[in-house]
Point group: C2
Chain length 406, copies 2
């Protein structure tokens, strides 16, 4: 191996760092730990028996096709099912508005590839989804963070930021949002803010990347229209979806909805990236949808997770110390809630104590592209059992109590 | 949609063009056409029944695992099977030398992401694999082409090129080769040239990217050691493999073998690209290998393709006009042979006439990163039936004859 191999890496690669989360998560592999750190769906929701039979029948019926290469754009039959999923959510699409991806992460990667030059500005939430940070950072994006509150991204702050950027002669490439049950904060953007976001994007001629993996997992509260539907075909919104949270993640299957001009470019980019998403996994998802199994399956997931969310909120209410700086969000859906502790408390330092006490979370800092977040933690309630949720919250509360009193 | 949307694309995306091949291939969708254009394995080789039963059993047995997220590096069980595949080919690896990819195209994309800055030099064959050109071009690589002959890349030309580049103060990032049954030329690099290639790479401190999707599909002639095995752990060679040609393409499953330092960086890059290759497809490939089915399956493929290759060579011998400028390679393996016609003949212009005559090929120009190739065509013999091979060659010969006499 050349001694100077490191010097051969591209500038973008030199900037790729090992994820702190990933390294911390390794500590959570020990037995007896109750982990709120992952973002995994509960395996109990996986329709194992149906998929086993369906996979067998499908391969026998159309193996010649499903085991062969497929079109880069995606299986047209699966795209037809995606159009139906959209219709039930007031989103109008044609085949040409859809690109099937190797799950949402690839959607983020394609967005980065097609839009970001080194140094280009991307606006995102403070906090925001860590996978989006990695994807956009790998294209050397410059991040501008906007604070969130209970109604999602602060539009007054966004307006100020856009104005300041324009004064400086800068035009952001896009505004990245997770409007529904945000990862990690668990908050949902209000309808009013969604409208404002689109208005601001138009006024400042920038795009909106809507990443909404949990949209169909709502447990309480009212449906809010997607940015894609509010955009009504204008083409300002690039909308990322996934089957990972509504079916199961092991297929690595998602899709992008956008204006034809954008999708056309995405298709060319994807061709150089992996030629096509596995026709095999697409055929399985198609078959599952086509047999009309998806709606009932999502309903089952919602029931299960609604209960787990309630369990976690009640456990936090019961066990967390009462303290002015300690609070958490009450998500209406999704997989996560977001805990805040007093500013003086460092959840990264506390992580090791938590692991000793056999409980884990993700440290808030992971979700800040531009620094910050030490006094936050993301807690996942979809994966652990209700019993583990209660016990894990007790353990976490004890660790925090001890820290408060020290 | 913004009128100036095009101006928002990244520099890299602006350089992404619709593939000429892809557009031409659309013409080959008409019925009655015999296509030598694709690069598809014959569906007759797909072990449909085994995969159907195996998929069912696997999902029932370990659905909780196979349908969940998996490690970015790949399923350790599949990596163990890959190590065994390597051992049978004199290649020594540990788990840390392997990254499972969403097929070889993703391997190429990761190589580009981790090594290429805009304007960086990549050395490749003239001709070379078109998918590698797209992948590296999407990172704005600058290509330097080296002629091939019957023994693969010309090492005298490579030495001259490396010397000239060094004089100009330039160090190429890597030399990209398809040493076994090259796509498109069908030629195999001799052992002597392989050794020379590694020596030159060392002398000029550059890496070698070995892309070898067809390595196990040899029909005649003697086994030649891989560059990876000749490198013997030095870490100069990054080696790309795929299950697409030895099992079937619909899984979109491949792997990269390289030095740990390189794989570590690739893992970080891949995490931002798609988190992980589908655990579901990896489990199926693992199970297939673990049941000991792969070796016999490859043997069957080899038998089938050996016959098709022979059929195509005989048909060309019988039907192609005798003319000093017309000849073709006689590949010892793989899926393709490479036809050369007189320099005055333009196979791109002739393509439309060929399609009219119901036969198709890929125009040589697709495989030249730096221009050229008009008097070449790539012919695939793995997909069409033996009868179609004979009839298709007759049609192509007639088109060429007519052109010669006009």
């Amino acid at each position: 191996m050349y001694k100077n191999l490191e010097s051969m890496f591209s500038v973008n690669a030199a900037g790729m760092k090992k994820s702190v989360i990933r390294e911390l998560l390794k500590l959570t592999q020990k037995p007896d730990i109750i982990s709120f750190a992952g973002g995994l769906p509960a395996p109990a929701t996986f329709p194992v028996k149906e998929i086993a039979e369906l996979a067998r029948e499908l391969i026998l019926r159309e193996g010649d096709w499903a085991l062969q290469y497929g079109p880069t754009e995606g299986d047209p039959r699966l795209k037809q099912e995606i159009i139906k999923i959209g219709e039930r959510d007031d989103m109008k699409m044609d085949q040409e508005n859809i690109l099937v991806t190797t799950a949402s992460q690839q959607g983020l990667d394609i967005v980065g590839r097609v839009f970001i030059n080194p140094g280009d500005i991307v606006i995102c939430g403070r906090p925001t989804y860590v996978g989006a940070i990695s994807a956009f950072r790998s294209y050397a994006a410059a991040f501008e963070g906007i604070e969130l509150d209970e109604e999602g991204m602060r539009m007054d702050h966004l307006r100020d930021k856009l104005k300041a950027l324009r004064s400086a002669g800068k035009r952001p490439k896009f505004i990245y949002v997770v409007p529904d049950f945000q990862n990690p904060a668990g908050v949902t953007m209000s309808l009013e803010r969604r409208r404002l976001l689109l208005d601001l994007a138009c006024e400042y001629e920038t795009l909106v990347v809507e990443d909404t993996p949990y949209r169909q997992l709502r447990y309480v509260g009212d449906h809010v229209p997607s940015l894609y539907s509010l955009d009504a075909g204008e083409g300002i919104v690039i909308d990322l979806h996934t089957f990972s949270k509504i079916l199961f993640p092991g297929l690595r299957l998602g899709w992008v909805q956008a204006h034809k001009t954008v999708i056309d470019k995405f298709v060319i980019a994807k061709q150089a990236m992996d030629l096509c998403t596995p026709p095999f996994t697409q055929a399985i998802a198609y078959e599952y949808c086509n047999r009309g199994l998806l709606a009932a399956h999502i309903e089952e997931n919602v029931e299960l997770y609604r209960n787990k969310r309630k369990t976690m909120l009640e456990a936090l209410e019961t066990h967390m110390p009462e303290h002015p700086g300690i609070h958490w969000t009450k998500p209406e859906g999704g997989l996560f809630l977001w805990m805040t502790v007093p500013e003086s408390m460092d959840m990264e330092a506390l992580f090791y104590k938590a692991v000793e006490a056999n409980v884990a979370y993700v440290v808030g800092t992971a979700f800040y592209a531009d620094g910050g977040g030490k006094n936050h933690a993301r807690l996942n309630f979809s994966y652990p059992s209700p019993e583990d949720i209660v016990e894990g919250v007790k353990r976490l509360a004890a660790v925090i109590k001890e820290q408060l009193s020290s």
